[in-house]
């Protein structure tokens, strides 16, 4: 529990250090005429101080006698990693394969491997959802969805 909170403080410190370093590469101006580096620099300094306070607060706080788990149930970390990876892959492929193909592939993957649906549900669901969303967003709402290299 405490380890997680230390990680949060550490991330804050790292972000602050990077922003302070990078802010020196931007004109800082003066107090009477602040430049573009003024705000990020001072915000990063405040972030560094807060991260330090957070570290001290975590260190001095006593752990409660009974800790309440935020959620119950078996943890399935792989679901998170695969889903996040599939979204990133979708982002990279949508303009190459086009909306229809990339959406069908994404839904096939999500319904089958993350949702653990039966194959007939996977195929029916993926094709139907893709076609309906194409009809709603592209045809009805005129959202410009990419056609990709296959122009579909």
């Amino acid at each position: 529990m405490k380890r997680i909170e230390y990680i949060g403080s550490l991330i804050g410190l790292v972000i602050a250090a990077i922003v302070i370093w990078q802010s020196f590469l931007i004109p800082m101006g003066s107090i009477g005429k602040p430049g573009p580096g003024f705000m990020p620099f001072w915000v990063a300094v405040i972030l560094a101080l807060l991260s330090g306070f957070s570290w001290i607060e975590t260190r001095t706080r006593k752990l409660p006698a009974v800790q309440v788990q935020s959620r119950v149930g078996e943890r399935q970390w792989s679901n998170v990693i695969w889903t996040a990876a599939s979204l990133l892959a979708y982002g990279f492929l949508i303009e190459i394969l086009g909306f229809i193909l990339s959406t069908i592939f994404l839904l096939l993957f999500l319904f089958r491997f993350m949702g653990r649906q039966k194959w007939w549900v996977v195929f029916t669901g993926s094709f139907l959802v893709t076609l309906i969303s194409h009809a709603i967003f592209k045809l009805a709402l005129k959202v410009q969805l990419p056609a990709g290299i296959f122009k579909i």
Binding site: I4, E5, I7, G8, G12, A16, V19, I26, P27, I31, G32, K33, P34, G35, P36, M39, P40, V43, A44, I46, L47, L50, S51, F53, S54, E57, V68, S70, R71, G73, E74, Q76, N79, V80, T83, A84, L87, L88, Y90, G91, F92, E95, T103, L106, L107, L110, F111, M114, G115, R116, G125, V129, S133, F137, L141, K142, V143, Q144, L145, P146
Partner: protein
């Protein structure tokens, strides 16, 4: 224009068939996403924001507002029938609402929730109508130093009212401010933190970040757990109309919840969530039989449900009068107004009275629509609740992906959203709240502009923030709020608002 004529103008606009249609669509979608756990108003408004580009600004804003207050209504249904909050503001309704359902009183629980929401929603709109114009006039007299101090006060309030640590909330606000600095500096035109990436010149968009953190992040958290079948209340629901005794028990909680919710909604960081929790604590304290709370006390449903709806109405005050959003939903509404070429704040009332009054009056109509939608259609909402999550989450993800792509028609927004989805998931794991970060992203440019202008005005003297009365008041209040928890911490008596509440964590 006097108030009466302004309201008449509002009615003439909101009663136009197209606006009535979008108001109905907004409250319908709001109820739907309120009923469905795993997708909240922030994600829905983010997804649908690009769809409003083709609409008139009034229709678009009316629809987005309808989604927000509609979600407050819908959220209670899930809390009462499934013991899972449809959205964060309905967490507290689970405590007594579900117990009422288990005792065969699901009907009165749903009924009082809908009526309480209607009364509170209407109260909030009336209060908004009366309070917004004078506040907007006061806001016109504020200059850069006052705006800087006001935003600082807003951040402090947001951190003070945060569910967890105040320090963590302020850290998130700082990260949001740093993110707001990415892109071209609006005064000098200097590129900051872009590293040659052209798409970063315009900065990081609010909508992909909101969709990622609130939409994708929530889905990832749900996927981490083995999600069993939800146990939806199966008995036939009858007697939706509360009895005379139910009304007698609920009337004062509804009135208290409405007033409390509205004023808490005005505060940055306040809004519907904190309003419902505070109302529950207040009702428990006022009750002659506090031991019944958590066992199915109707006051525990009526008060919080009224409060969260009134809070949703109160949220519009700082946005409409000061141009300062109180929570992430209002930040998105602000984004929507800006995208449509409107400037939220005191000038909105004088320059675009049609938008201002059209949106406010549409809320009267929306509340009536919601009452009609929520009571007779309860059977449909129960069916919606039975949609299995393994089938639902791919749809949520797909809508987020389409929404993010359609903002700028480029894959960069999709990648940003996916990345922030992972960040949103990690933030939940390390117990950091995302709301202060999102608000800081929106308020960052305003804060920086006000700070730099103030310092130029004063020749570099920070006393400018202390010599002007409004600014001094805002800074003073922020200082008191910051000092309060520090003193308590030093004294070793750190208590939290949540101490009044059951210790269950529904985050």
């Amino acid at each position: 224009m006097d108030l009466w004529n302004s309201v008449l103008l509002g009615f003439s606009i909101s009663l136009e068939p197209i606006n009535l249609f979008y108001c109905f669509m907004g409250v319908l979608m709001g109820t739907l996403i309120g009923v469905l756990p795993g997708i909240g108003p922030v994600a829905t408004i983010s997804i649908l924001l690009p769809a409003t580009f083709k609409m008139s600004p009034i229709s678009g804003i009316i629809m987005l507002a309808g989604i927000y207050y509609g979600a407050m209504y819908g959220g209670s249904t899930t809390s009462i029938l499934v013991n899972i909050p449809g959205e964060a503001a309905s967490v507290v309704t689970c405590l007594d609402g579900y117990q009422m359902a288990r005792k065969g009183r699901a009907g009165p629980a749903l009924g009082i929730s809908a009526f309480g929401s209607f009364i509170a929603g209407t109260f909030a709109v009336v209060a908004l109508t009366l309070l917004a114009p004078p506040l907007a006039e006061v806001a016109l007299q504020l200059g850069p130093p006052e705006y800087f101090s006001l935003v600082i006060l807003g951040f402090t309030l947001l951190a003070y009212l945060a569910h967890g640590s105040m320090i963590k909330a302020l850290m998130m606000a700082c990260i949001g401010l740093i993110m707001a600095c990415i892109g071209l500096d609006f005064i000098s035109g200097f590129e900051r933190f872009t590293y040659g990436i052209a798409t970063l010149e315009d900065g990081i968009g609010l909508v992909p970040v909101a969709m990622g953190v609130f939409g994708i992040g929530e889905v990832l958290i749900n996927l981490e757990e083995s999600i069993g079948k939800r146990e939806v209340f199966k008995a036939k629901i009858s007697n939706l109309l509360p009895s005379l005794k139910d009304w007698k028990d609920s009337l004062l909680p509804i009135i208290r919840g409405s007033v409390l919710g509205f004023f808490l909604g005005i505060l940055p960081g306040g809004g519907a969530v904190i309003a419902s929790f505070t109302s529950y604590a207040v009702e428990k304290r006022f009750s002659k039989h506090p031991q019944e709370f958590g066992q199915g006390a109707i006051e525990g449903v009526a008060g919080p449900e009224a409060a969260n709806n009134a809070g949703a109405g109160g949220n519009f005050i700082p946005l409409m009068t000061l141009g300062i959003p109180a929570n992430p939903v209002m930040a998105l509404m602000m984004g929507a107004l800006v995208i449509h070429g409107l400037q939220p704040g005191p000038l909105l009332l004088s320059q675009n009275p049609d938008v201002f009054w059209g949106v406010i009056v549409s809320m009267y109509l929306g509340n009536i629509m919601l009452l009609i939608l929520n009571l007779p259609l309860i059977g449909i909402w129960i069916r919606v609740l039975r949609i299995p999550y393994p089938f639902l989450f791919p749809l949520i993800l797909l809508f987020c992906l389409i929404g993010s792509y359609s903002i700028g028609n480029n894959k960069f927004d999709v990648l940003i959203m996916s990345l922030f989805g992972v960040i949103g998931y990690l933030l939940r794991k390390i117990r950091f709240e995302a709301a202060p970060m999102l608000l800081a992203m929106v308020l960052g440019p305003m804060l920086e502009d006000a700070l730099r202008q103030s310092l130029i005005m004063s020749g570099g003297s920070f006393t400018i923030f202390l010599v002007r009365p409004f600014s001094l008041a805002f800074i003073g209040l922020a200082a008191i709020l910051t000092a309060f928890p520090i003193i308590k911490w030093i004294l070793g008596k750190k208590t939290r608002l949540a101490a009044e509440l059951p210790k269950e964590d529904h985050s």
